[in-house]
């Protein structure tokens, strides 16, 4: 893990009279997987939009060194393009058609959707669509992956499967990742660092490092423990439940 890839310094964001983010400072290192969790409506997505450059902070600064790609909750794929065409969007720097085809093939194999290259998104299940989104974002050269609740529209089992899929894909193609989620287990299972945000205006309430190497299982002790801590931080479970926590 080398120097920071993405740095927020004292970032605040107001929408009119509503303060959404308050004084958030955050440095995300190269190759790090950071998860942002918080109560719904707390400003997670605003924070992500500021990280991606789709929104500007009202005060404070963003230092962004690298190319980033975003994966959306759902329907971020172009419905008028096939799986192969959508993935090719991520490979637009390639000029040689043969090279492009081979890279598309590689990505399709990576997400195990061989045979679906010419399918359109509406012909795929929700889980398959999100896999294509991941492939599009991971294809070609980018350094940072921003994930905006990428699995929230999926059923529970598919969500569990896609977590493994994401961990596997990142093993093959390492990236710096920022994951916004309200799924606490997801954050605990996937991230190196979980940042718990407060109610609006969002501030950083707690940072939690999880040191067990990725990919992890949901039932590994540190994952379970981290889940407990986050739940307690969000006021969903009482502090008693966090007995035995080691910071």
């Amino acid at each position: 893990m080398s120097g920071p890839n993405l740095t927020l310094t004292n970032v605040s964001r107001w929408f009119g009279a509503v303060e959404v983010l308050r004084d958030i400072s955050l440095a995300i290192g190269d190759g790090e997987f950071v998860a942002l969790v918080g109560p719904s409506g707390c400003g997670k997505t605003t924070l992500l939009n500021i990280l991606s450059g789709d929104d500007q902070p009202s005060s404070g600064s963003v230092d962004r060194q690298s190319r980033m790609r975003m994966v959306y909750q759902q329907d971020g794929l172009f419905p008028w393009q096939t799986v192969a065409e959508n993935i090719a969007l991520g490979l637009r720097h390639l000029i040689d058609p043969a090279e492009l085809q081979s890279q598309i093939g590689q990505m399709v194999r990576l997400i195990q959707l061989e045979g679906f290259e010419d399918h359109y998104p509406h012909q795929l299940s929700g889980g398959m669509r999100q896999r294509v989104e991941l492939a599009r974002a991971l294809a070609g050269k980018s350094d940072i992956l921003l994930l905006d609740e990428p699995f929230s529209s999926l059923d529970y089992l598919t969500r569990l499967r896609l977590r493994h899929e994401l961990a596997r894909l990142l093993h093959e193609r390492p990236r710096t990742v920022v994951l916004v989620t309200h799924d606490i287990e997801e954050a605990a299972q996937l991230a190196d660092r979980v940042i718990v945000l407060t109610e609006r205006p969002a501030q950083i309430r707690r940072e939690l490092r999880i040191r067990t190497p990725r990919p992890r299982d949901l039932t590994q002790p540190e994952v379970v423990q981290a889940t407990r801590v986050i739940l307690a931080e969000l006021g969903i479970e009482t502090e008693d439940a966090t007995v035995g926590e080691s910071q």
Binding site: S52, D54, M68, R69, M70, Y72, D75, G76, F78, P79, W80, Q81, L89, G90, R92, Y120, P121, H122
Partner: protein, 257 residues
């Protein structure tokens, strides 16, 4: 039941309905309630049709009308879609021009007939102008609405993957509105055809609308029915042709939800 036998059955049912209609017509005719010139027999209409085919008059009028409707419709669509794209993306232009477009859309193109004749004379140009007016404004408005309903996420994705300018237009905006555009084309093509016939009735020396007027003046109701059938069938055929556009794979998504 297979798709094919389903199709066969619906064709059979539809043919049956037409048959019953012709039956009722024959029956009413046979009672003699209406004078022969007020309601010709199906046989007389068939004979008139044969005559029209032999003299090529019907074919001529058909070609003339189809030429006008395709010209007026194509020009209107070719200008209406860019107008809609521009107004759809630029709020200031929309604010300035939307009331005007709404005004003209609600003004029947037929009200323009006197000016059309004064400006363009009787003939192709006047009719094409009227068809243009009938199609341009609805197409522009529908495009504005379609552009406005494109989910913001598509533009963000486009920006993230470097699709900007002309590429953004051709690979994101246009495909995103294509399903709605095709629906609009189907609706406005019908409109164009109605206006073509109406315009030719007043401002034509040929074309199917003029032929209808001519038959009326000569009290040739048998010819009139031939022309009415042809006009209706052409309208249906145009819609069938445009409906084929909905089968393009890259627009399928728009009709699936």
């Amino acid at each position: 039941m297979t798709n094919r036998s389903n199709n066969l059955r619906s064709v059979a049912v539809q043919t049956g309905v037409v048959g019953v209609l012709i039956g009722i017509w024959t029956l009413v005719w046979a009672t003699g309630i209406f004078h022969e010139s007020a309601l010709p027999s199906p046989l007389a209409v068939l004979r008139a049709f044969g005559m029209e085919l032999r003299t090529w008059r019907l074919t001529n009028d058909l070609v003339v009308s189809l030429f006008r409707v395709s010209c007026g419709f194509s020009i209107a669509v070719a200008l209406g879609i860019p107008t809609g794209l521009w107004l759809g993306r630029v709020a200031a232009s929309r604010e300035a021009l939307l009331p005007l477009i709404n005004f003209f859309r609600n003004l029947s193109p037929l009200a323009w007939i006197p000016f059309a004749i004064l400006w363009f004379g009787v003939g192709d140009a006047a009719t094409i102008f009227l068809i243009f007016l009938a199609v341009y404004f609805p197409v522009a408005l529908a495009t504005i609405a379609a552009v406005g309903s494109i989910p913001a996420v598509y533009f963000r994705v486009a920006r993230a993957y470097g699709l900007t300018g002309v590429e953004g237009l051709s690979k994101v905006t246009l495909p995103a509105i294509m399903p709605q555009i095709i629906t609009t084309l189907r609706v406005t093509a019908g409109l164009a055809w109605l206006i073509d016939v109406a315009a030719e009735m007043v401002a034509g020396r040929d074309g199917l609308g003029f032929a209808v007027m001519d038959s009326r003046n000569g009290l040739r109701t048998d010819l009139l029915i031939v022309q009415m059938i042809v006009i209706g069938l052409i309208g249906v055929t145009m819609d069938r042709v445009l409906m084929r556009l909905t089968r393009i794979p890259s627009v399928q998504w728009g009709y699936q939800r």
